[in-house]
């Protein structure tokens, strides 16, 4: 039997799958430290990645989604790591991976666009800031020759701002398919039947694309490419990788597993590619908000609030899960449905970046998150 995947892979030499690869953008500053921000677009389910298996309400609330954790490695007495993350699990046991749970940005609504805008801009409400915290970080670091490299045509908001940031695309080949899809979109605009069908097809594609493509091969290629761009002495010091496909409203068990397999492969490729530089590297993985505690009617979860974030790398003081755990019993939930955030993601990011680059934490917070600078940065992460 042929299936959709083998058809694409065998036929178009995976060109379409490559076109769905995560996108990257780079910035350059004078420091030996490397910092990579992997954004999870679509609201990654922290409860399904770093699962609170020790919470008495977890199995009841999560049903089928809890089954994956029956044999999963325990991180401590409360949490277990999703089994599709063996590389991350290994790094955790080597104290090079740290997870923060029940975190959230200042955003408290449920729109991906607005939530990502707050996560990347570093403001407290959507569209408040025109520049991103990753760009403002360049202003805090030793004087820069900041230049931009983006795999996509556009630089993501987190990297946009007064300091020059460039973008890098591997070659025109993988983009060809994406370009065709866009042209089809334009061509179908005047045809009501095809326009409706096409819009739906593109929405579905958005949800299943990206990180999971090629069984993790695309994600690994992206990680390896990012590492190559970060290794040279005159190369970029800060990179941002965009990943999509986290919006698991349906069939979450299968889809999240595939996503995490891709993320794990990406981290492995980064570590391999960076070689000795891994000791000076910090990788941040974060998403705009979490997902509902309860499963919905289609085996998925809906937009929520609190979620998990990760710090990975040789420089990280890992081997721990930081969580002021609010609990999953119904009375403890935010708006009676979501994991209640107890740690500010801004403070976590600010503390991590300050520690990694040796910047005074209050100064880092003021530059990166001017609207929430009164919140103390989380210390002792790096």
């Amino acid at each position: 039997m042929y299936d959709r995947r083998s058809f694409i892979g065998a036929g178009a030499a995976g060109a379409l799958a490559l076109a769905l690869s995560p996108r990257m953008a780079f910035a350059k500053a004078e420091t030996d430290k490397r910092f990579i921000f992997i954004i999870q677009r679509g609201a990654a389910d922290g409860l399904g990645i770093v699962a609170p298996v020790g919470d008495p309400a977890f199995v009841g609330a999560r049903g089928d989604l809890a089954a994956d954790f029956a044999t999963a490695t325990k991180l401590d007495s409360m949490f277990a790591l999703h089994p599709a993350l063996p590389v991350l699990g290994g790094l955790y046991s080597q104290k090079q991976a740290l997870f923060a749970h029940a975190v959230a940005s200042p955003y408290r609504d449920r729109s991906h666009f607005d939530g990502q805008n707050v996560l990347e801009g570093g403001g407290t409400s959507a569209y408040q800031r025109k520049d991103g915290w990753l760009n403002r970080l360049l202003g805090v670091l030793p004087p820069t020759e900041a230049k931009a490299i983006a795999v996509s045509a556009t630089v993501p908001l987190a990297l946009r701002g007064r300091y020059d940031v460039s973008s890098y695309a591997p070659s025109g080949l993988p983009q060809a398919s994406d370009d065709l899809l866009q042209r089809v979109t334009m061509l179908y605009q005047g045809d009501s039947q095809l326009h409706a069908l096409w819009s739906e097809a593109m929405n579905t594609r958005q949800l299943t694309s990206d990180l999971a493509g090629g069984g993790g091969a695309n994600a690994a290629a992206t990680g390896a490419l990012a590492a190559r761009l970060l290794v040279p002495a005159d190369g970029a010091r800060i990179a941002m990788i965009e990943t999509g496909g986290w919006d698991t409203h349906t069939q979450q068990r299968q889809r999240l597993g595939a996503q995490l397999k891709g993320l794990d492969a990406m981290i492995a490729a980064l570590q391999n590619g960076l070689g000795p530089l891994w000791n000076d590297t910090m990788v941040l993985v974060a998403t705009e908000f979490g997902r509902t505690v309860a499963i919905n009617g289609t085996g998925g979860t809906d937009h929520g609030t609190g979620t998990a974030a990760m710090l990975i790398g040789g420089a990280v003081r890992g081997g721990r899960v930081l969580a002021d755990w609010p609990g999953l019993n119904p009375a403890a939930l935010f708006e009676a449905r979501d994991l209640k955030p107890t740690t500010q993601l801004d403070a976590f990011i600010g503390g991590a970046v300050a520690g990694h680059f040796g910047v005074e934490p209050a100064r880092a917070m003021a530059a990166l998150f001017p609207e929430t600078k009164s919140v103390a940065a989380v210390r002792g992460l790096v």
Binding site: Y2, L16, A176, D179, L181, L187, Q193, L197, T204
Partner: protein, 125 residues
């Protein structure tokens, strides 16, 4: 000639694509696989009355996307064919101005050919 109105079945779309590209012989195995992908498995209509003759049965979001993917493959193998010249030959009198513009704006001959094969007037008969 009037604008085509009825959404082609996968079989019809494949045959018309092959004709447009002047392909005379095909690998049977490849065709079986292709028609499975496009949603019309050869000799397996899935119901005793045969393949459906209602446009809605064939015009699904995924079905359209699969045609676009297949069209890109066809076009990649078609060699140098100018879709702008081919369009009025395979769709006499029914190439819309929008399609003509879209073909002319394509970044490569192969891309234009792929776009022609999934143009609204080529998706219908």
């Amino acid at each position: 000639m009037e604008q085509p109105v009825k959404f082609k079945t996968p079989w019809e779309w494949t045959i018309s694509s092959m004709r447009a590209l002047n392909v005379k012989t095909v690998d049977p195995q490849v065709m079986v696989g292709l028609l499975n992908q496009l949603g019309q498995p050869t000799w397996k209509p899935g119901q005793p009355v045969g393949y459906d003759d209602i446009a809605a049965s064939w015009a699904g979001p995924d079905a359209v996307l699969r045609r676009v993917e297949a069209a890109e493959r066809f076009a990649a193998r078609a060699g140098s064919v100018d879709a702008r010249a081919l369009a009025p030959k395979v769709l006499p009198g029914s190439v819309s101005p929008a399609t003509q513009t879209a073909l002319a704006n394509c970044e490569s001959p192969a891309q234009a050919l792929a776009l022609l094969l999934v143009a609204p007037e080529f998706m219908r008969r």
